[in-house]
């Protein structure tokens, strides 16, 4: 977004086909962005490609996985031509199991209190700081927040984490799982607080057209940049996510 003084915020160029054009140059550096969507719409692929494109530029990237073991994640990602296992070997892409992190921190309880949350934030930011991570994905923040009982604590957790990561210059994608029912009523997070705290919201979902599901992506909000708010059709290919404007006469389902 260009101000009257001509100031343009520096961008984290995602490298994802079409997304940087939608964002008019990329995600403003240090933003915490919610990538929200129902199952099977490409959230994990989007997150992984975001990291790979950063690693290709020599950036240190980190992926915290809470929904599946890291071994399984890496097995699944090998099908993509854009992924190169040497990025992991070289330490450019660092994958962490949230379960391992919990046990390392002694967080064995079913639910987290304020002290646990602060310990978790410290562990994540320490890793980011030590490795010099500039791109981070947490997949999914929904699974993580299920362990936090109150909305207020979820709000504190996300706000503090986002603020600290931003200070460290890290651009973060928080993957959020929503049901298709919720995505139809403009709710972009499971707990309702994630969307208010995030700097940006990228929604992924399905449009039903005559019995067929077409994937779409829509940037609903992105602080610090003017951006398109249109729906874009998504194709998940071996070379990455591909986007094209969704036909206006066929985008309402």
């Amino acid at each position: 977004m260009e101000s009257a003084a001509g100031y343009v915020r520096d961008r984290c160029v995602t490298g994802i086909h079409g997304l940087d054009e939608i964002l008019r140059g990329g995600i403003p550096y240090g933003s915490t962005v919610l990538a929200a969507g129902s199952c099977g719409c490409g959230k994990t692929t989007l997150g992984l490609e975001f990291l790979v494109r950063g690693a290709e530029n020599g950036e240190a990237c980190a992926h915290f996985t809470a929904t599946e073991p890291s071994v399984k994640l890496l097995d699944n990602v090998r099908q993509y031509d854009f992924f190169d296992m040497r990025m992991v070997d070289k330490g450019l892409i660092n994958v962490f199991d949230m379960d391992v992190l919990y046990s390392w921190l002694g967080l064995t309880k079913a639910t987290f209190d304020l002290g646990d949350i602060h310990a978790l934030i410290k562990a994540i930011t320490d890793i980011v700081n030590t490795i010099g991570v500039t791109r981070l994905v947490i997949d999914s923040v929904t699974t993580l927040c299920y362990k936090i009982q109150s909305e207020q604590l979820i709000r504190d957790f996300l706000f503090t984490l986002g603020k600290k990561l931003s200070t460290l210059g890290c651009t973060t994608l928080l993957i959020s799982e929503i049901t298709s029912e919720k995505s139809g009523v403009n709710m972009w997070s499971s707990f309702g607080v994630e969307e208010a705290i995030s700097d940006g919201i990228i929604v992924l979902g399905d449009v039903e057209r005559m019995g067929h599901l077409l994937r779409f992506l829509q940037v609903v909000k992105m602080r610090g940049t003017s951006h398109s708010r249109a729906k874009y059709a998504v194709e998940l290919t071996s070379i990455g996510v591909m986007l094209t404007p969704m036909l206006k006469w066929g985008s309402s389902g």
Binding site: H17, R209, M210, H212, L214, A233, E235, T237, I239, M242, L243, T244, P245, M246, L247, K248, W249, G250
Partner: protein, 194 residues
């Protein structure tokens, strides 16, 4: 044996890569016209490209072209027919990929772009076969919008687009838009003898 239309080859030698060509044909000569276009593109101009087949299965098209001495190795086929009729996707051709339905217009565009990003040949074409087949499944306004996007997307990327169409089976609004968007015309509409 089909006799290819040599005048089409002459006409094609005058078009640039950023051209969008509307090809009008009839119900009985559409394959002859399509083969007459592909023959010079492949065998003379040494181009490669993407063939979007919405009128019939890609397998049948490949066999027809090969029988005429038109090699299909440099063509990626996007078959929008076979997947929907279950069982039509069992083929040995590795250059066919399938799109669930002719209503998934954006998927056809993105898959075409995918092949171009993976680098086919130095000079590329995209053939859309055909507008009238897509008109069976898609509403007129949406199809007109799609063709507008299609033509402009490939013109911008210097990919020759060839749009096959049987005019008397295409909605008038779509026809009018095709006339407006396309830069060139090959007219081999069916001749009706009374």
């Amino acid at each position: 044996m089909i006799e290819l239309d040599q005048k089409i080859a002459e006409q094609l030698s005058d078009v640039g890569l950023n051209s969008s060509m509307q090809v009008r044909c009839g119900t009985s000569n559409s394959f002859t016209v399509t083969a007459s276009i592909l023959n010079p593109l492949i065998n003379v101009f040494e181009m490669g490209g993407v063939y979007i087949s919405a009128s019939r299965g890609a397998n049948e098209i490949i066999e027809g072209l090969e029988s005429l001495g038109i090699p299909t190795g440099n063509i990626q086929f996007l078959d929008m027919v076979s997947s929907g009729i279950l069982g039509g996707t069992n083929t040995e051709h590795t250059n066919i990929s399938y799109i669930d339905s002719p209503i998934m217009l954006e998927s056809a565009l993105l898959r075409t772009m995918y092949h171009f990003r993976k680098k086919l040949t130095e000079r590329n074409f995209v053939i859309l076969d055909s507008v009238n087949a897509l008109a069976i499944y898609n509403e007129e306004r949406m199809l007109a919008e799609y063709l507008h996007t299609f033509v402009n997307t490939f013109r911008q990327r210097e990919v020759l687009s060839v749009i096959i169409n049987v005019p008397d089976q295409t909605p008038p609004g779509v026809l009018a838009n095709l006339d407006l968007y396309c830069t060139d015309l090959i007219d081999r509409g069916q001749i009706v003898i009374n």
